[in-house]
């Protein structure tokens, strides 16, 4: 079994987790490695998954029209030459103009009209079997629909700063903040779930690679790194982080 992969993986994971103790060279090493690896990875993907099929292959087949976006793309690079940097504005103008033109009607449709339609529901709503079957569940649905209308309107009033929030407007805006608080609380609950999931992901790998099959990578490296941090601390390295030449 190839142990190099699991050992490197565990070592890098522990290097980053070492930041929980304090900022230290192990973390800085992993942080900069992450930066380099991410950029290198993205570079390769852009070259092989976008430039090759979208630029190199069409040009080699004589599709010269591709030179138009290449020209605008090259103009972006003039940003690096102060004297010619203004040329990049042409490309940015193209990107911004196209993006804005495409976005306006799409956002009106999706995030305004459809959302308004979703808010304005008939009250009382007509149950599937007709009004004769209207029951407690339908009453609940109508209450919820009404609540959504009240919530949306009060939140909009809260964000409407063109009028002073006093009198009845103040009360409506206040109701809006209460809706917002519940929403932020719900979002917090879900964010905790997300963060704990990530934690679980790393814990799972650390435990998995801590077994005999992987040469006890996790406990061994944990001890090695703890010793390193202790020695680093004793040598007064905490104050010298980043001051040395080496990594």
């Amino acid at each position: 079994m190839n142990l190099a992969g699991p050992w490197i993986e565990v070592a890098l994971t522990l290097c980053i987790f070492s930041f929980l103790y304090r900022d230290n060279p192990l973390f800085k090493f992993a942080e900069h490695l992450f930066l380099g690896v991410s950029v290198g990875y993205l570079f390769i993907q852009v070259v092989f998954d976008t430039f090759k099929p979208k630029v190199v292959d069409p040009l080699s087949q004589g599709h010269w029209a591709v030179l138009v976006p290449v020209f605008f793309g090259l103009l972006v690079l003039t940003r690096a030459v102060p004297r010619l940097a203004w040329l990049s504005r042409w490309t940015f103008a193209l990107i911004v103009g196209f993006g804005a033109g495409v976005a306006i009607p799409s956002i009106i449709h999706t995030n305004i009209l459809s959302q308004i339609a979703g808010t304005i529901r008939p009250i009382p709503h007509r149950p599937e079997g007709g009004f004769s079957t209207y029951g407690m569940a339908d009453l609940g649905t109508d209450f919820s629909n009404l609540l959504v209308i009240v919530g949306v309107l009060s939140v909009l009033v809260y964000f409407f700063y063109s009028i002073e929030h006093k009198g009845p407007i103040r009360h409506v805006a206040r109701l809006g903040t209460l809706f917002l608080m519940v929403s932020f609380g719900a979002a917090f609950g879900y964010t905790v779930m997300a963060r704990m999931s990530l934690l679980y992901g790393r814990c799972y790998d650390l435990c998995y690679y801590g077994s005999a099959a992987y040469g006890y990578a996790t406990p061994v490296l944990l001890v090695v790194f703890a010793l390193f941090l202790a020695v680093h601390r004793l040598r007064g390295g905490a104050g010298r982080d980043g001051s040395g030449g080496g990594a």
């Binding site: 852009v46 976008t50 997300a194 704990m196």
Partner: protein
Amino acid sequence: MRGLLTLDRRWIFLLMAVVAFLPVLHPFNFPGLRTTPPVEAYFRCIDSLPPRAPFLISCDFDPTAKPELLPVLEATLQHAFRKDLRVVVMNLWPGGIGLVEQALREASARSGKERGRDFSYLGWKQGNVNVILGMGQEIETTYPADYYGKKPSEQAVFEGVRVLKDFSLVASLAAGDPGVEAWIVYGRDRPGSGGFPLIGAATGVMAANMYPYLQTGQLSGFIGGMKGAAEYEKLVGVSGKASAGMDVQSLTHFTIIGVVILGNLLAFLYRKEGAK
């Protein structure tokens, strides 16, 4: 007790580490996982498709969302292959390519599916929402070739599929932007797209933002966070990593609730004491 208020945060880190590691080392298998309507709708959307229906899965995540979204992808692939759907997989985020390609390779091998006939992997293209917009116009213009260099039009899996609306169902597994919302704005809701059925899965951080789209029907089904992934695994009948992670999720949530209550109690007690 007062000292707890100024407790070194590293003690809390240690507590979280213990709580997170404990169930991994010794699984408790807490019972009680119940499915919710949005996840059931996600399941139904795939389950109700006829055999050989074309199904697009857009993986809009990178390794930072691996614990939340990779289990969804694995279960979705298993579900789709079991239903004998034609599966096309792509990425809007470059970081996920390796994970997605590996998951697809393993799932297809397990189900005995053939590349080009039963499934295809398009890979990633630079451009974010422009990729969605482009696929709505013509898939082969945006993806002249799949990840392995083969033209989409030369693959049986793309038979009758030229633009986005030709897919019977589209799923976006998203960790941010571009993700589910971009698929609605620049895919599903664009003129000529026919409002194709769209389902989504998102990380917990994004989950709360998806509910307005669920209510309007712009999103037909939704999986939120690792809990949603575990629900879907239960519905599909697989025991994946999301289900295994529910022990950690349960304990860490209870710990957070505990530390918040403790923090508030201490603040309340010593504020009163201070007032005296």
